[in-house]
């Protein structure tokens, strides 16, 4: 059932004080942009959705992904992928192994290798499998991080200001790439940013937290 991501009457309190509330629906292939000044709890909202909310916060309401209630599920059973501002490639693994880490389990060795190579080709990095992530440029790192997350076959994608570390020109390219891939896979996307250009490029509904 492909219904997208629903946040129903979601309220987050910190030590008993209300922090934010949101009630919205992100359809498959749609990008919802959440904006607001820093400290308003944008990243906290993402933590709540992926299931890593720290204990001083309390969550009420329902988070429903494709008809499945995520509340109470551990992060690894939610099928919600996230990209942070830093690519967070694992420095101890090669580019290929980073992708292998993401790639959903199953398949023979050869089949897995083929999927990884195909993934690299898809983001224009053919032949990069054995490279050390530290030798990549910022744009290349962002693309590997995106592909690593997509290979884990998430049902929704969260973006935590993922473009703010890139320079202006690169930013547009990477942003387009991320949106295109998410749309092609019909993923509901929730983008957290404080950059109006990101919201414009997302071309979807915008929620501003206050």
């Amino acid at each position: 059932m492909s219904d997208g991501l629903r946040l129903e009457q979601v309220k987050i309190t910190r030590d008993g004080k209300p922090l934010l509330s949101i009630d919205t629906h992100v359809a498959p292939g749609e990008v919802l942009t959440v904006m607001g000044p820093s400290g308003v709890g944008k990243s906290t909202l993402l933590s709540a959705i992926i299931g890593t909310l720290s204990q001083e916060f309390a969550l009420s309401g329902q988070i429903i992904l494709n008809g499945r209630d995520l509340s109470g599920l551990p992060p690894d059973e939610r099928c919600v992928g996230i990209l942070f501002q830093d690519a967070l490639l694992f420095p101890h693994l090669s580019v290929g192994a980073n992708l292998a880490f993401g790639l959903a389990q199953g398949g023979t060795r050869a089949a897995r290798r083929a999927k990884i190579d195909a993934g690299l080709a898809e983001v224009g990095l053919t032949g990069f499998a054995s490279r050390d992530p530290a030798t990549l440029s910022g744009g290349q790192r962002a693309r590997v991080a995106l592909m690593r997350m997509l290979l884990s076959e998430p049902h929704a994608l969260l973006l935590d200001e993922p473009f703010s570390g890139l320079d202006a020109e690169l930013r547009g390219q990477v942003r387009q790439l991320v949106f295109d891939h998410a749309r092609a896979r019909g993923l509901p996307v929730l983008l957290v940013t404080h950059d109006q250009a990101d919201a414009d490029a997302a071309d979807g509904p915008v929620v501003t937290l206050k």
């Binding site: 890593t52 551990p74 690894d76 996230i82 694992f90 790639l103 959903a104 884990s152």
Partner: protein, 567 residues
């Protein structure tokens, strides 16, 4: 022309520190090599000859002693690391973990001897655990004839070492976790579907391990060569190689020193070999982990492992805590028959009986620790300030240098140091003991000050300089007062390290310097539990009280300066 007073051209403090760190280790190794190859004029021997090694390998206990040292050491190190990883992988960042962290951190400074006695009092056939289940479950109405303590396989010794090493590795890892983005790495891996333990082990642990590699080596060489814990918990016929070295060193027949020196070199070779094996093991494990990552298996259903990790953490904290408690109970025990859980009556007689002896030992302990830590603090602050003024940074090689005295097994160079002192006709006593304690105190002072010193906001110095303050004034009036809390904590760490030193005090003091630790360990063979309780408890108090002061003093002195609390 105005002359400004500059720091001396020669980096005085770093040079002195290197000398203090390396000098005794190098001299001690030299003093070991000579007699090992038959050169000991004091015993009327001039080398070179291989007689000492021949005698050593003719000793029937050599095989078992070597095996014991290697097996207990490696197993303890490996087990400690695995338990540490299991606890961190399952719990780091959770509320339960913070409870565990708070439980374990005070135990870090409990001296090894006291912890070992505590464990002994718990698991001995007449210990608290046996009493708890007797006679209603076990049917024992007197202590069973079981060889639990000093068992010939060294199992109890291994457990004792694990109990002390896990808190050390845990706290080192927690410090390392602060330097990497562990929380987000974990969140990212979990959002890709990895179970908590798999996510932590594959995505976070490699970065942590890179930062705790030296402490892990310290744990490894320490467990292969520890003496005080092995005397208390380890087997005795034959004992571990290190214990045997100390026995030979204290033999009145000087000829045994040649054999001891040869054994010390064997001990060094064993440790070097084991470190080599460990390095190969690291590569192998990394290889296996990469192969596992390639499969993309997610490692769900890790709940039993998480519970196991928590159980280990709880058992370790509980046995340390109950062990200390049993020391306390024994120290005030009157008549206490098996299987009663508590003594018939409580008495101050034990404390009265050991009053004079324990107070003398306390005074000696405090004096040695005080002088060693004072010199150590001057050197450490001198080094840090020199590095700050000259804009130097501690390299990886420098880090190895600081760790060196902790990595070279004590039994490899301390016997040599004693032999050298003897050879030069120098009097052994308090002064050399202080100098040797300094060797072991310095690394810990540096390690505990490094972080706070470096994270101090240097712009404060710039502001002060712009107001016309000299470098010295900035140091004394701004930096040191602001860093009061970490400075006191470092001193407390240093004192705890000095209080716990057994072998340096025994060997370099020529058996004439009696601290709480040497007195306590000496009681091990006698089995007077009340005396052990008194000395063990005083030893623990001597190590722990400075920490309480280090917490209380800044809170008192800066009670009206909110910005300086919780630094």
């Amino acid at each position: 022309m105005a002359q400004t007073i500059r720091f001396p051209r020669l980096p005085l403090f770093p040079a002195l520190t290197v000398l203090v760190l390396l000098g005794p280790v190098a001299a001690g190794l030299w003093g070991t090599v000579l007699p090992a190859f038959g050169h000991l004029p004091a015993a009327g021997q001039t080398g070179p000859s291989l007689d000492a090694f021949r005698a050593l390998f003719d000793w029937p206990g050599i095989g078992p002693a070597v095996r014991l040292s290697v097996v207990t050491g490696l197993v303890a190190a490996l087990l400690s690391l695995c338990i540490t990883v299991l606890i961190l992988a399952g719990w780091a960042g959770t509320r339960g973990f913070r409870v565990l962290e708070r439980l374990l951190s005070p135990f870090l400074s409990v001296p090894h001897a006291a912890a070992a006695f505590g464990l002994a009092f718990l698991i001995a056939p007449s210990g608290w655990i046996a009493r708890l289940f007797s006679p209603w479950l076990t049917g024992w109405d007197r202590p069973p004839d079981l060889l639990i303590l000093n068992d010939p396989w060294g199992i109890t010794l291994t457990l004792g070492m694990v109990m002390k090493e896990v808190p050390f590795l845990l706290l080192m890892s927690i410090a390392a976790l602060g330097q990497i983005d562990g929380r987000r790495r974990l969140a990212l891996s979990r959002s890709m579907g990895y179970g908590r333990i798999a996510a932590w082990v594959f995505a976070v642990f490699p970065a942590v391990y890179a930062r705790i590699r030296l402490p892990v080596l310290v744990v490894q060489t320490w467990s292969m060569s520890v003496v005080d814990m092995a005397v208390i918990l380890g087997p005795s016929t034959p004992p571990t190689l290190s214990v045997q070295i100390v026995r030979w060193m204290s033999d009145p027949d000087l000829a045994f020193r040649l054999q001891a020196a040869a054994a010390a070199l064997v001990q060094l070779a064993l440790v070097i070999g084991a470190v080599g094996v460990w390095f190969v093991g690291e590569k192998l494990v990394a290889r296996l982990a990469c192969m596992r990552i390639e499969t993309g298996r997610r490692g769900h259903r890790d709940r039993p492992w998480r519970i196991t990790g928590f159980a280990f953490g709880t058992v370790i904290s509980a046995s340390l805590l109950l062990g200390l408690l049993s020391l306390a109970v024994w120290s005030v025990a009157g008549f206490w028959s098996f299987p009663d859980l508590i003594p018939d009556h409580v008495t101050s007689r034990n404390w009265m009986r050991h009053r004079a002896g324990s107070l003398d030992a306390l005074w000696e302990t405090a004096l040695i620790a005080g002088i060693a830590v004072a010199i150590g603090m001057i050197l450490t602050i001198g080094c840090l300030e020199t590095e700050h003024r000259r804009n130097l940074r501690l390299t990886q090689r420098g880090m190895w240098l600081i760790y060196l005295p902790l990595i070279v097994p004590q039994t490899a160079f301390l016997p040599g140091l004693q032999t050298l002192f003897l050879g030069f006709g120098l009097d052994m006593g308090r002064t050399p003991v202080v100098l040797v304690h300094l060797v072991f105190v310095l690394p810990y002072l540096r390690l505990s000050l490094e972080g706070p010193w470096k994270s101090w906001d240097v712009r404060q110095a710039t502001v002060a300089a712009a107001l016309g303050a000299s470098e010295g004034r900035v140091l004394w009036r701004i930096r040191l007062p602001m860093l009061l809390a970490p400075l006191l904590t470092a001193m407390a760490v240093g004192i705890a390290v000095s209080v716990g030193q057994y072998l340096p005090t025994l060997l370099v003091g020529g058996g004439r310097v009696e601290t709480l630790t040497t007195e306590a360990v000496a009681l091990a063979s006698g089995g007077d539990r009340r005396a052990i309780g008194v000395f063990g408890l005083m030893q623990t108090a001597a190590a722990l009280l400075p920490f309480a002061l280090a917490l209380a003093l800044p809170a008192l002195i800066w009670r009206n300066r909110k910005g300086l609390l919780h630094v």
